[in-house]
Symmetry: C2
Subunit: 225 residues, 2 copies
């Protein structure tokens, strides 16, 4: 028999999926704006962020409200607490898309420094990690969460390659490229930070699923107090 709280938890899942979709879209659009040198699209990303901020507050409030009304048992409580953390991570991810859009607005005012290859590749990795980490949460799937953690090495590698190319092949050789190269370098680091947020989500999911195992054995908890 389905409990009333199960419906509420499903609704929370939907909220997190929606936050995840909005965050993914913000990343995608910010990097499209960069690739296409499209200031209007960059401004759209910046403008849309307030919608994501509001949704974050709603989801957060909803979580506290759920706990207050249902006084859920350990497993459900851990799920809601993890949902609150992931909600905050997704809001931060969307904020980073705004950072990318702001760098883009500065870059489109100047001539193109170089064709972008690795930055869109890193953006695709970041977007995929957002998607995987949210799926890991919604399905409570440790294997998916571990996939996120193992993708992070690829993100680090791409970020380092981008940084090295910009420093060695542009800034060092021709100091005049530095103002633009620094913006691209920051964008690469923003994307890699998005990946770091998804590893936070993945770690929270693993902890949620594993803590659940502990919490099925309350005697272990008693020993801790």
């Amino acid at each position: 028999m389905e409990r009333h709280i199960d419906q509420e938890l499903k609704a929370l899942n939907q909220d997190i999926l929606r936050m995840g979709a909005l965050a993914e879209e913000a990343i995608y659009r910010s990097v499209e704006a960069l690739k296409n040198r499209d200031p209007q699209e960059a401004r759209n990303v910046i403008d849309n962020d307030s919608q994501i901020d509001r949704l974050e507050l709603d989801v957060d409030e909803h979580c506290v409200d759920l706990i207050a009304r249902f006084q859920p048992m350990a497993k459900d409580l851990r799920f809601i607490a993890t949902g609150m953390k992931i909600n905050a991570e997704l809001e931060r991810i969307a904020d980073i898309a705004v950072d990318i859009a702001q760098r883009t607005l500065e870059l489109v005012e100047k001539p193109l420094l170089k064709p972008l290859v690795d930055i869109p590749r890193l953006a695709a990795v970041a977007q995929n990690m957002v998607k995987l980490s949210i799926d890991a949460f919604v399905q409570g799937d440790i294997a998916l969460a571990k996939q996120v953690l193992s993708s992070d090495a690829q993100a680090d590698q791409l970020r380092n390659a981008i940084q090295k190319e910009l420093v060695d092949n542009y800034m060092v050789k021709d100091g005049a490229t530095a103002p633009r190269a620094v913006q691209l370098l920051l964008i690469a680091r923003f994307l890699e930070r998005i990946c770091d947020h998804t590893t936070n989500i993945a770690e929270d999911v693993i902890y949620m699923v594993q803590a659940e195992v502990v919490r099925h054995h309350p005697e272990r908890l008693e020993g801790q107090n």
Copy 2:
């Protein structure tokens, strides 16, 4: 009469104060290592991070446990939920001190680029914002939280001044300085990100104190469901 949960909430306050002190210390030591070109101190910051990571998990577990055992009412629940978020922010702040220590290890291998003036100044702002934001939480003090938010402009300004100086006066004039100048630029951005985390904490505190006002009027909540 003091309720049993009040003792537990005081203990949570102590935990957050301890996390805050550790995070502040990590910032201070990472910037001392940079200023004194001291690789051993940088390595200490990196090594100490696992202690902060463990404390974060303990505090988090303790919060969930508190909710499960006491089924606290709205005000206490919001306090605990905010404590969980702040705990996560403080762990991230300590991670950024590790980032600074890692950049420092690379910088000490090369000749000094320039005497550091604004970076230690920005570090002092960041440390003070950490302290203020934690005090705001522990005392539930909106005025302190607002002080954190208004300090952020100063941090942004310092970060921008540092970035502009490094790009205009070093990288553009002499490309050979770029590898070191980029490391310093990243350190300035790390410090400014620490400030951003403290504004997250301040916003959480304001939301906690204000939501409390709403929650003293349960009829308003009923209307939301």
